[in-house]
């Protein structure tokens, strides 16, 4: 199989699930005729028809609400947020309806909400955010954030097949920048399982999304300085894979947590808490975070550069922690 981009991997996964299961359908803004703002669903309307690829009004609340309703009736909707920043317009439907439906009524809500998140593309404050932590905080939801084409492919399939509402955070910076050959058609990535993206012995970087790439670059650089970095790609930010998180700290004893989202109460805070609570006497150094600062994402490219974590910032923090 030829190498495909991260975006094509998502598209392939979606298409295959649409082909495999007739109850899978898609809805969102401009996903049909236009093929989606990033062309993830280009060609889908022709292939699957207007009953399964539905252009909706500009109302995230309506999109999510319709998806929930159809999921309750036995469909497997995949709702696209044109940008994940706009997911907040559907917030109530997600956290109060989708997340609690099974608890209240014993009814499963097998739906996926997917869309592009993250910065690095000079998108400014409304087209660059990483809003995963809000949802990771909500019991009843699953939240995934793939970092590679293979994981993007394997996770979209698992998300669609899962009987719970799954939020699937794509990274728009990675859409056309990463390429991989995909595994076979039946390949899935289990939700709730992290992946050791690089083995190491001196320090573990816990990360996900775009920052996996940046962390691997940093690890490569530090390997030249005789510091052996392990990179754990969380892949699922809720529920977190404690087993993999703890197994790695047992090996390295030092934890650096990296995420693109802003700092306070981000996913990294939860990882840090797990390490402090369950691996306290494995730790040989402070738990350190490299994250975006607590500000909106700046529009100005130099400011965005300063705002975003990157390999250079990760190297600096890792060096300090390794020497601690």
């Amino acid at each position: 199989m030829a190498e495909v981009t991260y975006l094509e991997a998502i598209k392939t996964g979606l298409r295959e699930e649409m082909q495999r299961d007739e109850s899978v359908y898609m809805l969102g803004e401009d996903i049909g005729v236009y093929g989606g703002a990033f062309k993830v669903t280009a060609g889908f309307l022709d292939e699957f028809g207007p009953m399964r690829v539905i252009d909706t009004p500009l109302s995230e609340s309506a999109i999510v609400g319709a998806a929930i309703g159809s999921a309750l009736m036995g469909q497997r909707p995949v709702a696209e947020m044109q940008f994940m920043d706009f997911i907040t317009c559907g917030f109530n439907q997600i956290v109060n309806m989708a997340a609690k439906m099974h608890y209240r009524n014993h009814l499963p809500v097998p739906m996926v909400i997917r869309g592009p998140s993250g910065g690095g593309t000079h998108g400014g404050p409304f087209h660059s955010q990483n809003p995963e932590a809000w949802f990771a905080h909500t019991p009843g939801l699953k939240v995934v954030a793939p970092s590679t084409p293979t994981d993007a492919y394997g996770l979209i399939k698992s998300a669609i097949r899962d009987n719970n509402p799954v939020l699937y955070f794509e990274h728009k910076y990675l859409y056309r920048r990463l390429k991989e050959e995909l595994p076979g058609r039946d390949y899935t990535v289990p939700i709730g399982k992290a992946r050791v993206a690089r083995e190491g012995t001196d320090l573990t970087i816990y990360t996900y999304g775009w920052m996996v790439e940046q962390s691997l670059l940093a690890a490569e650089q530090l390997a030249g300085e005789d510091t052996s970095i392990e990179v754990v790609d969380l892949r699922t930010v809720h529920p977190l894979d404690k087993e993999t998180i703890l197994r790695s700290i047992e090996k390295t004893s030092k934890a650096l947590i990296v995420h693109e989202d802003t700092r306070t109460l981000g996913v990294g805070a939860e990882v840090a808490a797990i390490l402090a609570e369950e691996a306290f006497d494995m730790l040989d150094g402070p738990i350190v975070r490299v994250t975006a600062p607590d500000t909106p994402v700046p529009f100005s490219p130099p400011l965005e550069q300063a705002f975003l974590p990157n390999a250079e910032k990760i190297v600096a923090a890792a060096r300090r922690l390794a020497a601690y």
């Binding site: 404690k242 087993e243 703890l246 197994r247 047992e250 004893s253 609570e277 369950e278 691996a279 306290f280 006497d281 494995m282 730790l283 040989d284 150094g285 020497a323 601690y324």
Partner: protein, 460 residues
């Protein structure tokens, strides 16, 4: 499967504990984490929770028994199996099960699964029960745990981390290069006798002798009516350890001298007002004692020294520790290179250190490098005292309160009785380093300098 409960390591340097009171009796059902026994050590008293649920099958150590760390104190049986025979046949399936095989995912936060211990019976699992955290050492949770598990005094491990921190690599290398694993357990009864115990068994040969932990009968019992257990602060514990270390390793001897401080008092009275106005701080009386001590130390360099096995280490720098009664307890910051300071310089240093000690603003360097200690017990109203040497120094000089007393003065015109400002100097010294002759000569040198304090002595 039965679980053997062992005496936990209740602090880095603790080798044994005393069974205070069994909170559960044989046959009692116990829940996981339920306290089963009170254990008393000279560092902490603690209720020991059961690491497992089950039935207390057997109490192997009675109340009041002194038990080495790691030694069995009880056996908890699996409640489901209900087998009276604690172990051997019962779970041959799991036969010799190394505890470290416990998967990480099952790791309980407070209970390291791989804590090595005495080898238990073939079918019994040995578990170290929860232990309270000991006093703060700048290491890391991991290093601290490894040190406790391997019976290592962290002070002996060279640190290569930032600020000399002992890192995981440092302690693993230290464990690796040790000739043999230090005996983790002191045999029962080593510290039982009231006689002075040997210096710590587990200290590597190169290390300075560690303070042994003598049994303290006063603490080794349950509370009676009208008694209260007061937990002590880390500083208090440290002071206690240092005192024990000093008293148990240094053969103390004391020599005293009465000093006529009248010339010093007159000198100070003459200068103190102007000094106070100029400097905004009082002219400290103890500064005179320190000044005289520093000069006497130059005359008797052997007093500014340290016993080191087959050698004596002479200290060419004169750094004077000054005892300060700070809110948390005794603090002894250092006046560095006191021989380079004038009387006013010493006074300013004393006032500054005392103030910062009370405001808890001392820095680490203020606490390091002392070579000799001056302890002004007079400031607290004590007329004379016998001080414990600030280990590993060779001596400590205490000055009592200055009190006016009638004394006999010998003058050219015959003896006369006069009212003089008298003070007692008390010098505790390490009798390995110094003998009575040198010690008395040193004290007299201090005395003569104070008694002969000239009105023209340079203040600056």
């Amino acid at each position: 499967m039965s679980t053997v409960i062992v005496m936990p390591q209740l602090g880095e340097s603790v080798a044994e504990g005393i069974i205070g009171k069994w909170l559960k009796q044989e046959g009692d059902r116990i829940e996981k984490d339920e306290p089963i026994v009170e254990v008393i050590t000279d560092k902490v008293n603690a209720e020991i929770p059961s690491p497992v649920a089950g039935v207390l099958e057997k109490i192997t150590q009675p109340e009041g028994a002194t038990v080495a760390v790691g030694q069995e104190i009880a056996v908890v049986g699996d409640s489901a199996s209900g087998n009276g025979a604690s172990g051997n046949g019962a779970s041959s399936v799991e036969a010799p099960q190394p505890v470290s095989a416990t998967p990480a995912a099952d790791m309980a936060p407070t209970m390291p699964p791989d804590a090595q211990q005495v080898s238990a019976g073939p079918a019994t699992q040995t578990v170290v029960v929860d232990r309270p955290r000991s006093e703060r050492v700048r290491t890391s949770p991991l290093v601290k745990r490894l040190a406790e598990e391997h019976g290592i005094n962290l002070a002996e491990v060279p640190g290569t981390g930032i600020g000399g921190r002992v890192s995981k690599q440092d302690i693993l290398a230290f464990i690796e290069q040790r000739p043999q694993p230090a005996p983790h357990l002191a045999p029962t009864g080593v510290f039982e006798a009231p006689a002075r115990p040997e210096p710590a068994v587990q200290a590597p040969p190169a290390a300075p002798p560690r303070a042994p932990q003598p049994a303290q009968p006063a603490g080794a019992r349950a509370l009676g009516p009208g008694e209260e257990l007061v937990p002590v602060s880390p500083l208090r514990k440290m002071i206690a350890e240092r005192m024990v270390q000093s008293v148990y390793t240094i053969p103390h001897a004391v020599t005293m001298a009465e000093v006529d401080m009248t010339p010093v008092v007159r000198y100070r009275d003459a200068h103190k007002r102007a000094y106070q106005e100029r400097e905004g701080a009082p002219l400290s009386l103890v500064a005179f004692v320190i000044k005289a001590t520093v000069d006497a130390l130059k005359e008797f360099p052997l007093v500014n020294a340290e016993w080191a096995g087959d050698n004596i280490i002479l200290k060419h720098e004169i750094n004077i520790n000054v005892a300060v009664d700070a809110p948390e307890g005794l603090t002894i910051p250092v006046i560095h290179q006191a021989d380079h300071l004038s009387l006013a310089g010493i006074s300013a240093a004393v006032v500054d250190l005392a103030r910062r000690a009370r405001e808890r603003k001392l820095k680490i360097e203020d606490m390091q490098g002392g070579t000799f200690t001056v302890n002004n017990t007079g400031a607290l109203g004590s007329v004379a005292g016998v001080s414990i040497i600030n280990y590993p120094q060779a001596g400590i000089l205490s000055s009592g309160a200055i009190v006016k007393r009638p004394v006999v003065l010998e003058t050219g015109a015959g003896d006369t009785i006069a009212i003089r400002s008298m003070m007692t100097l008390s010098f505790s010294f390490d009798h390995r380093v110094l003998d009575g002759g040198t010690s008395a000569a040193f004290v007299n040198a201090v005395k003569n300098r104070l008694e002969g304090w000239s009105p023209d002595y340079p203040l600056y």
